[in-house]
C-alpha cells in the first residue's frame, strides 16, 4: 500500500463532498420530483459521511435516522401521491430565474459575512482535535444536553410536542356518515343479540331445485 492514512482520508472527504454538492444541485435541477426527493436522500447520506469524518458519529447516524428514515419517507409519500406532472422547460419563467439568483446571491453574502466577522473567533483555525480511542461522544453529548443546555433542550421538546398536537388537530375533521370503527364496541358485542341458532330437522327440497333445472 502506497497511500498514507491522511491521503486516504482526503480522498474520502473530497469524493463524498463532491457527491454532496452534486446531489444537492441535482435536487433542484432534475425534472422528475421523485428523483429530486431521492437525490435529497443521497445528499443527506453524503453529509452524514462527512460528519463521520470529523468524528461526530452520533450526529451522523441521527441525521440518517431522522431525516432519511423519517422525514424524507413522508416527503416521498406526498410526492408520489400528488402525481406532479414533469415540469417542461417552457413552464420555467425567466423572472423566476432572476429572483432565484438574487436570493441565492443574498444568502451567499450573508454566509460570507457570518463566517468572516461573527464566527472567525470561534472557527478552529488548524487541525481538528482528534479524541483518543474509546472516547464516547454519545456520553459527552448527553452530559452537555442535560446539564448545560437543559432548558433550551426541554423548551425545544415542548415546542415539538405542541407542533405534533397542532398538526393532528388541524387534520382532524368530523364528517357526516363517517363509519369509524370503535374497537371496544366491537369487542363487547354479545353474539346472542346478533345471531339466532335454531335447531331444525334436515329438509328435503320440494319441487324444482337448481340441480334439476340444468
Amino acid at each position: 500500500m502506497i497511500i498514507s492514512p491522511e491521503l486516504f482520508q482526503q480522498i474520502i472527504f473530497y469524493t463524498f463532498a463532491t457527491f454532496t454538492v452534486g446531489s444537492a444541485m441535482a435536487v433542484v435541477s432534475v425534472k422528475n420530483t421523485i428523483f429530486s426527493a431521492l437525490f435529497l436522500v443521497l445528499c443527506f447520506f453524503n453529509t452524514a459521511v462527512l460528519w463521520l469524518l470529523i468524528e461526530a458519529e452520533f450526529l451522523a447516524i441521527t441525521l440518517v435516522l431522522v431525516y432519511v428514515g423519517a422525514v424524507m419517507v413522508l416527503f416521498l409519500f406526498v410526492v408520489m401521491m400528488l402525481d406532479v406532472k414533469q415540469a417542461k422547460a417552457s413552464q420555467l419563467k425567466q423572472s423566476y430565474t432572476k429572483a432565484a439568483l438574487l436570493i441565492a446571491a443574498a444568502m451567499l453574502v450573508e454566509l460570507m459575512v457570518l463566517f468572516a466577522y461573527k464566527l472567525s473567533g470561534q472557527l478552529p483555525t488548524n487541525e481538528l482535535v482528534r479524541q483518543e480511542q474509546g472516547y464516547s461522544n454519545v456520553t459527552e453529548l448527553g452530559m452537555e444536553l442535560f446539564t448545560k443546555y437543559v432548558y433550551p433542550f426541554e423548551i425545544a421538546a415542548v415546542i415539538l410536542l405542541v407542533a405534533i398536537v397542532a398538526a393532528i388537530m388541524l387534520t382532524m375533521r368530523k364528517r357526516e356518515g363517517n363509519k369509524q370503527m370503535d374497537a371496544s364496541k366491537q369487542i363487547n358485542i354479545n353474539p346472542a343479540e346478533r345471531l339466532r341458532v335454531v335447531s331444525m330437522k334436515a329438509e328435503k327440497a320440494e319441487g324444482r331445485s337448481q340441480g334439476e333445472e340444468s
Binding site: F58, T62, G69, A183
Partner: protein
C-alpha cells in the same frame, strides 16, 4: 499507520464476507425450516423430495429463481425498478455490522450501535416505496403505501422500547448492553422490561411485514403488494431482504432482552460458559416464533394494525419507560448488576 489501513480494509472485508455468507446460508435454511414448521403444524410433510429430507430444497429454489426472466412492466422506471430490491437487501445486511455474536466477536463495536440499528432498519422502507412506485401498477403502489405506513408507525413503538433498554443499560453500545445482563437468567432485561420485550418483538414482526401483519402483501386484496411486478432474481433479493430482516429482529431481541451470548445459569460449570451458541439458540427461538405466529394467527385488519401500534403500544412503552427509570434509579429488584 499503514498496517492499520491494511487491517481496516482486508481483515474487515473477510469479516464482512463471513457475515454476509452466514446470513445468506441462514436465510436459505430458514425458508426450509419455515416450510417444515408450518407443514408440521398443518399435519403435512413439507418439502421432502430434493435431497435427503428435502434438505437441498432451498438450493433448488434459488436456482429456479435465478434462471427466471426478469420482466419489466410497461412504462416502469427501469433504474428505480432495479435499485429497489438492492436497497432492501443492502439495508438488511448493513444492520449486521454492529451485531455482537459473542464477546468481542463484532464487526464494528461502535458507541451509537442502537441508533445505527434503528437508522438502518428505518431505511428498509425505501426499497418498498420505490418498488411500489417504480412498478407502475396500482396494486404495487397500494401495497407500498400500506407497508410504508405500517413500518413508520411501528418504528415509533420500537424506538420507545429501545429507549427502555437504553435507560436500563445506560449505553448505546450493543456489546455493553449484553455485558450489563451478565449473571444468569435473573439479570436478563426481559424481566424488568417485560412489556417492552413483548412490544419490541411484536413491532419487529409488524416491521418485517410478516403474518399476521402482512396486509402489505394481502393476496386476497392487492394480489401480492409492492413486489407483485417482480420476478426472478429481483424477487429473490426482496425475499432475501425480508428473511435477513427477520433474523436481525430475532438477534436483536436476543441481545437486548435475553442477554445475548450469556448462559441462563450462572456459575463455573461447562453449561454456564458464555458462547456464541447461546446467542444462536436464543435467536432461533424468536425465528421459530415468527413461523409459529404465521401458522396460528389470521391476518389483522388494517385499522386493527394501526390501532394496536398507535393507541396500545406507544402509550404502554411511554409509561413503562417511567417505571424502568424509577426501578433503575432506586435499584429496585434483583436484576440490576
Amino acid at each position: 499507520m499503514i498496517e492499520t489501513l491494511n487491517f481496516l480494509i482486508f481483515d474487515n472485508l473477510i469479516y464482512i464476507l463471513a457475515i454476509v455468507l452466514g446470513v445468506i446460508l441462514t436465510v436459505a435454511y430458514l425458508t426450509y425450516f419455515e416450510r417444515k414448521v408450518i407443514a408440521f403444524m398443518h399435519v403435512r410433510m413439507g418439502p421432502n423430495r430434493v435431497g435427503p429430507w428435502g434438505l437441498l430444497q432451498p438450493f433448488a429454489d434459488v436456482v429456479k429463481l435465478l434462471t427466471k426472466e426478469i420482466i419489466f412492466p410497461k412504462n416502469a422506471n427501469k433504474f428505480l425498478f432495479l435499485i429497489a430490491p438492492i436497497i432492501t437487501l443492502a439495508t438488511a445486511f448493513a444492520a449486521w455490522a454492529v451485531v455482537p455474536f459473542a464477546d468481542g466477536m463484532v464487526l464494528a463495536d461502535i458507541n451509537a450501535g442502537l441508533v445505527y440499528i434503528l437508522a438502518m432498519t428505518s431505511l428498509g422502507v425505501y426499497g418498498v416505496i420505490i418498488a411500489g412506485w417504480a412498478s407502475n401498477s396500482k396494486y404495487a403502489l397500494l401495497g407500498a403505501l400500506r407497508s410504508a405506513a405500517q413500518i413508520v408507525s411501528y418504528e415509533i413503538a420500537m424506538g420507545f422500547a429501545l429507549v427502555g433498554v437504553l435507560v436500563a443499560a445506560g449505553t448505546l453500545n450493543l456489546s455493553d448492553i449484553v455485558r450489563a445482563q451478565e449473571g444468569g437468567i435473573v439479570h436478563w432485561y426481559m424481566w424488568p422490561l417485560l412489556p417492552l420485550f413483548v412490544i419490541y418483538y411484536i413491532s419487529g414482526v409488524a416491521e418485517t411485514n410478516r403474518a399476521p401483519f402482512d396486509v402489505a402483501e394481502g393476496e386476497s386484496e392487492i394480489v401480492a403488494g409492492f413486489h407483485v411486478e417482480y420476478s426472478g432474481a429481483a424477487f429473490a433479493l426482496f425475499f432475501l431482504g425480508e428473511y435477513a430482516n427477520m433474523i436481525i429482529i430475532s438477534a436483536l431481541t436476543a441481545i437486548m432482552f435475553l442477554g445475548g451470548w450469556y448462559s441462563p445459569v450462572s456459575g463455573d460449570s461447562w453449561i454456564a460458559q458464555p458462547s456464541i451458541f447461546w446467542f444462536l439458540a436464543k435467536t432461533s427461538i424468536f425465528l421459530y416464533a415468527f413461523f409459529w405466529l404465521r401458522a396460528t394467527l389470521p391476518r389483522f385488519r388494517y385499522d386493527q394494525i394501526m390501532r394496536l401500534g398507535w393507541k396500545v403500544f406507544i402509550p404502554i412503552t411511554i409509561a413503562w419507560i417511567m417505571v424502568v427509570a424509577v426501578l433503575k434509579v432506586y435499584n429496585i429488584g434483583p436484576w440490576w448488576n
